[in-house]
C-alpha cells in the first residue's frame, strides 16, 4: 500500500508539469496580451494610457524575456506561493482570490454535503423499489434537476422570491458586510443567504448522483454474493448495507476526485446570476480581460486540486477495496 501511494504521488509531478505547460501555452495563444487590450480600451475611451507604467509592468513581469523563461518564472513562483500579479485589480493574485476562496469553499462544501445527504437515501430507495411508483416519481424529479441548467434555476428562484416574498436573494451576504472583517453578524448574514445557492447548485448534482447510486446498486443487487448473504439468514436491510451498498461505494469514492476542484471553481454562471462573492465570476472576468496571471494561476490551482482529489479517492479506494490494494499493478 505504501509503495502504491508513493508511486501515485510521483506520477503527480509529470502530470502537473504537463498541465501547467498546457495552461501557459493557452494563455499565450491569443494574439494580444493584457497590456495591448488595456491600451486599446483606454484609446477607445479617448484617454491616454500611462505608457511608462505599462513598460514598467512589462519589464517587472518579464514580458520581454523568452517564453520558456517566463514559464519557469511562473511555475517556480507558484510553487513558492507567489501566484503572480493581477493586472486588472492591481493586486497580487492571492489577495484578489482571498476571501472569495473561503466563501467558495463554504458554498461548495455545503452543496456537496447536501447532495450526499439527499441522494443516498433516495438512490437506495429507488434501487430497492425498482419500477415502483416511488421510483418513477423520484426519477422524474431527479431528471428535472439534471435537465434544468443551474443559472436558469437561479433566475427562476430570484424571480419568484421577488414576486412572492419581495426578497432579494442574490449575494452571499448583506451588501453592508462587503469587505468587512469577519464578525458574528456577518457570519449570520452569510448563513442566512447560503441555503439558496446551495439548493440551486446542488439540484443537478443530486439528480445525477441519485441516478448513479441507483444504477450501481441495481447492478450489485443482481450479484450472487447478495443472495449468499441472504441465504445465511441476514435480515434484508443488514444484508443490503453490508454487501451491495458497500460495493457500490466504489463508484462514489472515485467521484470524490471530481469533487475537490469543484469546491473551488464553484458554479461560475450561477454565481454570476446570483452575484455570489465566490471565485467563479472572478475566473470568468479574468479570462475575458486576459488577466493572464490571475487566470493562469487559478487554472493551475484547479489542476492541482484535481490531481490531489484523484489521489485521495485512489487511496480511499485502496483501503475500501482489497482487490485494488492487493492486486494493483497486475497485468493481464
Amino acid at each position: 500500500m505504501l509503495r502504491y501511494i508513493a508511486r501515485r504521488i510521483l506520477i503527480m509531478i509529470p502530470t502537473l508539469l504537463i498541465t501547467s505547460a498546457l495552461i501557459f501555452t493557452v494563455m499565450q495563444l491569443p494574439p494580444s496580451d493584457y497590456f495591448e487590450t488595456y491600451v486599446a480600451e483606454m484609446a477607445a475611451q479617448g484617454e491616454k494610457a500611462d505608457m511608462s507604467r505599462v513598460e514598467f509592468l512589462k519589464k517587472e513581469y518579464g514580458f520581454d524575456k523568452p517564453l520558456i523563461e517566463r514559464y519557469f518564472l511562473w511555475v517556480t513562483g507558484f510553487v513558492q506561493g507567489d501566484f503572480g500579479y493581477s493586472f486588472e485589480y492591481e493586486m497580487p493574485v492571492s489577495d484578489v482570490v482571498g476571501e472569495r476562496l473561503a466563501l467558495t469553499v463554504l458554498v461548495s462544501f455545503c452543496t456537496i454535503l447536501m447532495t450526499w445527504v439527499i441522494a443516498f437515501p433516495i438512490g437506495i430507495y429507488s434501487a430497492t423499489h425498482q419500477y415502483s411508483w416511488g421510483d418513477y416519481g423520484l426519477t422524474f424529479i431527479g431528471l428535472i434537476g439534471i435537465a434544468v441548467p443551474h443559472f436558469l434555476l437561479a433566475l427562476i428562484f430570484m424571480y419568484f422570491a421577488n414576486v412572492w416574498f419581495g426578497l432579494s436573494i442574490g449575494g452571499l451576504m448583506d451588501p453592508v458586510y462587503f469587505n468587512q472583517p469577519m464578525s458574528w453578524a456577518k457570519a449570520q448574514s452569510i448563513l442566512a443567504h447560503l441555503w439558496i445557492p446551495v439548493l440551486i447548485i446542488g439540484a443537478g448534482g443530486t439528480g445525477s448522483m441519485v441516478r448513479a447510486i441507483r444504477a450501481n446498486l441495481l447492478d450489485e443487487l443482481q450479484k450472487q454474493y447478495y443472495i449468499t448473504a441472504k441465504a445465511k439468514g441476514l435480515p434484508p436491510g443488514k444484508a443490503l448495507v453490508k454487501y451491495p451498498l458497500r460495493m457500490s461505494l466504489n463508484f462514489f469514492v472515485s467521484h470524490i476526485g471530481d469533487v475537490l476542484p469543484s469546491i473551488v471553481s464553484g458554479s461560475e454562471l450561477t454565481a454570476v446570476v446570483l452575484s455570489l462573492q465566490t471565485t467563479g465570476p472572478l475566473l470568468l472576468r479574468a479570462l475575458q480581460s486576459q488577466d493572464m496571471y490571475l487566470a493562469g494561476s487559478f487554472l493551475l490551482f484547479l489542476s492541482c486540486l484535481t490531481v490531489v482529489g484523484v489521489l485521495i479517492s485512489d487511496i480511499l479506494l485502496g483501503f475500501l477495496d482489497p482487490r485494488i490494494r492487493l492486486q494493483g499493478g497486475r497485468t493481464k
Binding site: Q224, Y225, I227, T228, A231, K232, G233, P236, L326, G329
Partner: protein, 630 residues
C-alpha cells in the same frame, strides 16, 4: 412418489410456482413433489430451464420478487425439534422464522464460487457472520470455531486463511469456503445448486468427497441440484428428474440408472458422452437438429505428408508489476495432422487457452515457432506482419466458449456472419448474404432468422451462429476453445455432432480445447494433456485412455465421475497426493529434480510422456506396470 416416513427432513407436496411477467402468470414449476430423508442425498436432475433452481429458491424463501408459490406445501421437519413441522410456503420470506431456518437449519451453496463470496470482506468474516447470526459466540471463540470449520473443509492453514479474500483463493478453495459457511451452524439440510459444475474434474472429485465426509460427520441431508448424471451416480441415494417444471421420474439411484422408464431420462442418459463409446458411435441428442451440411472439395493432401500445423517450443510468461512472473506456457510442442482433431485437455490455469490464443496470434508468444503448412508454401505464423497476417487469417478461425458474450448484441445474425467476409473483402453484399444463408443451413438454423439479434436465441443456437461465423471464410483449421462447456448435456450433444459432421464434410482440422475428458474422448483422435503450462502426455485417444503413463493423466481419468453405478469414483484413490497438477505430488521420474531437465519420451505409437531426461521408455513402462499392479 416414494412413501413418506417421519424421518423426512424435507417434503415437497404438489408445488406450483409462477413468475409474473407483464401482468400475467407464467407457471415454471408444475406440481412437483419430492422428499429428502434425513442424512441422505437426493439429486434433483434437469436441464437449464427445468425449474430445478426455482425449487431450491422456494425452499430457501429466496424466490425473485416476481415469483409466487401458487399452490402446494414445502414441509420442513427439523430432526432436533423432533416432529415439529413448518410449512415454508406459508412463512413470510423475510420473517424471523424463515431467517432462522435460512443459514441456520438449511444451508446453501451455489454454482459460481467466483461470485458467491463478497470480494471486499475476508473469507473468515463472511463465514463467522453466519455463525454469529444463528449461534452467537464471544468474538474470540467465534474465530476459533470458524478456523476449526475452515480446517474441516480442507484449508491447510486455517488461521491465515481466515484473513484472506475470496479473489486470492482458487475456485476449489472458494467452494470449500462456501461449504464452510453453509455448514458452520450444522444445518439439517444442505442445498447444493450445481456445486461442482464450474470446477475442474480433480477439484470436483475433492469437493464431492468433502461433501460426503461432512454429511457423515454432521449428519445432514443433501438436496443436490445438478445436470451431471456422473455426479448423480456417485453421490445420490435417491433421484428426482424434472423437465420443464414437471416431475418425470423419481426413485432410488438404483432404479433410475438400471431401470430408467421415462423416455426423457433414457434420452438424457444417451446424450452424455462417456469413455465406453465405440469408434464411430454417435451421441443421441434429445432434440435432433438436422443440418444441411454442404460438401466441398477436400483439400488434396497427396504429396504433402507434413502436418497442417506444427508448434515448437512455444513459451509465454505473464508478468506482474508487483514482482514475480507466471510461466503460463512452457516449451509446448505438438503437430496437428490434416483433417485431424487434436484434443487439448487440462485444468483451468494450465495454459491451454493461452496456447490457442497464441496460435491465433491473439496473444504474443515470447518464444517458439508455429508453422502452418497450407496448400502453398509453409507459413511462419509468428513471423507474419500485420499485412500478411490479415491475408493469412482466413486459414484459421476460432469458436469461443461463451455463446453470450462472443456475439455482439447490437449486430444482427446476418451482420455477424458477414463481418469476416467484409473484413477480408470477399464478394459483394449479395454473394455474402447468399453465403450466410448457406452457412445457416450448414449449422442447422433457419435462414429466416438472419435478421434477428442474438438475444432471441438460446445458448445452443448462439453457439451455432458462432460456428457459422467461424466457417464464413472457409478455414482449414478451427480452434474450438471449450465450445460446449457452457451448454446443457442435450444441447452439448447437438453441437458436438454438428462439429463432427462439419469436420467430415468440409475436411476441417480442429484443435479442441476442453477440460471435459468425456467430450474430448468423443471428439478427438489424438489428445494432449497439459499441466502447469507443459504438455505432460500426448498420444492417440485409445492409447492414452487405456495406458495413461503420466501420474497427472491417471489422476484426471480417475477423477471423472461416470454415470454408471458399477464404476463409482474411488474418492480415496482420486485424492491421493493432494493437488493432482502439483509436480511435487508426482513420482521422481516425472519431476525435474536436482536441476535435471525433462524431455518427451517416446512410448511408441505416437504416444509420448514428459519425464526426467535419465528415464527411458522401459522405466516408464515399469513404473506404469508397478502402478497398475497396486
Amino acid at each position: 412418489m416414494a412413501p413418506t416416513t417421519p424421518s423426512d427432513v424435507l417434503r415437497i407436496e404438489d408445488l406450483r410456482i409462477s413468475f409474473e411477467m407483464h401482468g400475467h402468470l407464467n407457471e415454471v414449476v408444475k406440481g412437483v413433489s419430492l422428499r429428502v430423508p434425513a442424512g441422505r442425498t437426493v439429486a434433483l436432475v434437469g436441464e437449464s430451464g427445468s425449474g430445478k433452481t426455482v425449487i431450491s429458491q422456494a425452499i430457501m424463501g429466496l424466490l425473485p420478487r416476481n415469483g409466487v408459490i401458487t399452490q402446494g406445501r414445502i414441509l420442513f421437519s427439523d430432526p432436533i425439534k423432533d416432529g415439529k413441522t413448518l410449512d415454508i410456503a406459508q412463512l413470510p420470506a423475510d420473517g424471523t422464522k424463515m431467517r432462522k431456518l435460512r443459514g441456520g437449519r438449511i444451508g446453501m451453496i451455489f454454482q459460481e464460487p467466483m461470485s458467491s463470496l463478497s470480494p471486499v470482506h475476508t473469507v473468515g468474516s463472511q463465514i463467522e457472520e453466519a455463525l454469529q447470526l444463528h449461534r452467537p459466540h464471544p468474538r474470540k471463540e467465534a474465530r476459533a470455531v470458524t478456523e476449526k470449520m475452515l480446517g474441516l473443509v480442507g484449508f491447510r492453514d486455517p488461521s491465515r486463511s481466515y484473513d484472506r479474500y475470496s479473489f486470492e483463493l482458487s475456485g476449489g478453495l472458494r467452494q470449500r469456503a462456501m461449504l464452510a459457511m453453509a455448514l458452520i451452524c450444522h444445518p439439517a439440510l444442505l442445498i447444493a445448486d450445481e456445486p461442482t459444475t464450474a470446477l475442474d474434474v480433480t477439484i470436483q472429485a475433492q469437493v464431492l468427497k468433502l461433501m460426503k465426509e461432512l454429511q457423515r460427520d454432521i449428519g445432514m441431508a443433501i438436496l443436490l441440484i445438478t445436470h451431471d448424471l456422473g455426479v448423480v451416480a456417485n453421490m445420490a441415494d435417491e433421484v428426482v428428474v424434472v423437465y420443464r417444471g414437471e416431475l418425470m421420474e423419481a426413485g432410488t439411484v438404483d432404479d433410475i440408472f438400471r431401470r430408467p422408464s421415462h423416455p426423457y431420462l433414457k434420452a438424457l442418459l444417451k446424450a452424455s458422452p462417456d469413455f465406453d463409446m465405440k469408434e464411430g458411435e454417435r451421441l443421441v441428442a434429445l432434440r435432433e437438429v438436422a443440418p444441411v451440411v454442404p460438401t466441398r472439395k477436400k483439400p488434396s493432401y497427396e504429396g504433402n505428408s507434413a502436418p497442417l500445423l506444427s508448434v515448437r517450443h512455444l513459451r509465454k510468461t505473464y508478468g506482474s508489476k508487483s514482482g514475480g512472473s507466471v510461466l503460463a506456457v512452457d516449451d509446448v510442442s505438438f503437430d496437428i495432422g490434416r483433417g485431424e482433431c487434436l484434443g487439448l485437455v487440462g485444468e483451468s490455469g494450465s495454459g491451454k487457452t493461452t496456447v490457442g490464443n497464441m496460435i491465433m496470434r491473439a496473444r504474443k508468444a515470447d518464444a517458439g515457432e508455429i508453422v502452418f503448412h497450407g496448400e502453398k508454401a509453409p507459413v511462419d505464423v509468428l513471423g507474419l506482419d500485420s499485412h500478411t497476417l490479415k491475408a493469412f487469417r482466413p486459414h484459421m478461425q476460432m469458436i469461443f466458449q461463451d455463446p453470450v458474450s462472443s456475439l455482439s448484441p447490437r449486430m444482427t445474425v446476418l451482420d455477424i456472419i458477414r463481418e469476416p467476409m467484409i473484413i477480408q473483402g470477399k464478394g459483394d453484399a449479395a454473394t455474402q448474404k447468399q453465403r450466410a444463408v448457406e452457412l445457416m443451413h450448414a449449422v442447422g438454423l433457419d435462414p429466416r432468422f438472419l435478421n434477428r439479434y442474438p438475444h432471441s436465441f438460446s445458448g445452443g443456437q448462439r453457439q451455432r451462429i458462432g460456428i457459422a461465423r467461424a466457417l464464413a471464410l472457409d478455414p482449414d483449421l478451427i480452434i474450438c476453445d471449450e465450445p460446449v462447456s457452457a451448454l446443457d448435456v442435450s444441447v452439448q450433444a447437438q453441437i458436438l455432432n454438428l462439429l463432427k459432421d462439419l469436420q467430415a464434410s468440409l475436411g476441417l482440422t480442429y484443435l479442441f480445447v476442453s477440460h471435459n475428458l468425456a467430450v474430448v474422448h468423443y471428439m478427438a483422435e489424438r489428445i494432449a494433456v497439459m499441466a502447469r503450462g507443459r504438455i505432460v502426455e500426448i498420444g492417440p485417444r485409445q492409447e492414452l485412455f487405456r495406458n495413461p503413463a503420466h501420474p497427472y493423466t491417471r489422476c484426471l481419468l480417475k477423477a471423472v465421475p461416470l454415470p454408471d453405478l458399477d464404476r463409482r469414483l474411488d474418492f480415496d484413490v482420486a485424492m491421493a497426493g493432494g493437488t493432482a497438477s502439483d509436480p511435487a505430488s508426482w513420482p521422481a521420474e516425472f519431476r525435474d529434480v536436482e536441476g535435471g531437465s525433462l524431455r518427451m519420451i517416446d512410448l511408441g505409437n505416437g504416444h509420448s510422456v514428459l519425464a526426467a531426461e535419465r528415464c527411458t521408455a522401459h522405466d516408464i513402462a515399469v513404473h506404469r506396470g508397478h502402478h497398475a499392479a497396486q
